[in-house]
Symmetry: C2
Subunit: 170 residues, 2 copies
């Protein structure tokens, strides 16, 4: 499924799969935005990904074993899900987002969500990955009583958005 | 120095700077290989980066504030160093390398190095970043008695390479 990498280096192997402008953005949108269909991945793209680019990246991510595509048959939309390899990118995205917060211009609402994810550390990442395995792979979480990480991230985002709105109207 | 990102998302901001085939590879070679000059970055590239690509990525990384370039004057080679923003990529590279080890084909010697870096966790990453700040920014390490992370990584790599050689000659 994956071409033989140019070298034996794990970083190079990872960059060969993920090292382009859009692959991690698509994974982010499936993972954090729970966008599972081409149309919503395209229309709701905050960065305005182009249709042909999205189609190409989805094809590659499926071929590389990061996403699965459930073909729903004639007239029905294909649904994309995270494969386990993509779910295991949570720590990478957490560290990358934290680096982005500290070094680049970002918005308050999305900064708050990246902070929460980073500061929660490995326990939060493990919880989130368990949640994603349940949602995408049908593997029940070991402890369903634990608070939803997705819900925590969403609450932080909405809270920051509301505060930004309140400031604007003061 | 950095164009305004397309969205307020920290992950997108990071990917806009790093999301291409070679930028993280160049950072890796300066950081782990201590390659500071164009010629060695080109000639020693395990993945065979092309000269024009390397030149373009170095220019961009300097413009983005991840690398600094010390112009040594007529007839002398320019030396590249990690800026603090690139040094702070250590956790990203550690997680990315670990993900590569677990999901993609890699060589024993480089896998061992990535494992050591990942399993050392945040204490090792902090030590390594302190070492890099000393080497690249001239900021003395808080505790110079701590064992060198670069030396540990190199020893693990040489050890695994020697074992691979011994197996081959058995």
């Amino acid at each position: 499924m994956v071409d033989e990498p140019r070298s034996g280096c794990p970083i190079n192997a990872a960059v060969e799969v993920l090292g382009n402008r859009w692959s991690l953005i698509v994974v982010r949108d499936v993972m954090f935005g729970d966008r599972r269909y081409f149309r919503e991945l395209l229309r709701e793209s905050e960065e305005g990904i182009a249709s042909n680019i999205l189609a190409a990246r989805l094809r590659e991510l499926v071929a590389a074993g990061l996403l699965t595509r459930a073909d729903a048959g004639a007239g029905r939309r294909a649904a994309y899900s995270l494969a386990d390899a993509a779910i295991e990118l949570v720590p990478v995205l957490a560290e990358l987002g934290w680096w982005g917060v500290r070094h680049l211009p970002t918005s308050e609402a999305l900064r708050v969500r990246a902070e929460l994810l980073y500061l929660g550390g490995r326990p939060l990442w493990d919880d989130f990955m368990a949640e994603l395995r349940e949602r995408h792979l049908g593997i029940a979480r070991p402890d369903p009583t634990r608070p939803s990480v997705a819900a925590q991230l969403e609450a932080a985002y909405l809270d920051a958005t509301a505060r930004a709105g309140a400031v604007g109207s003061a």
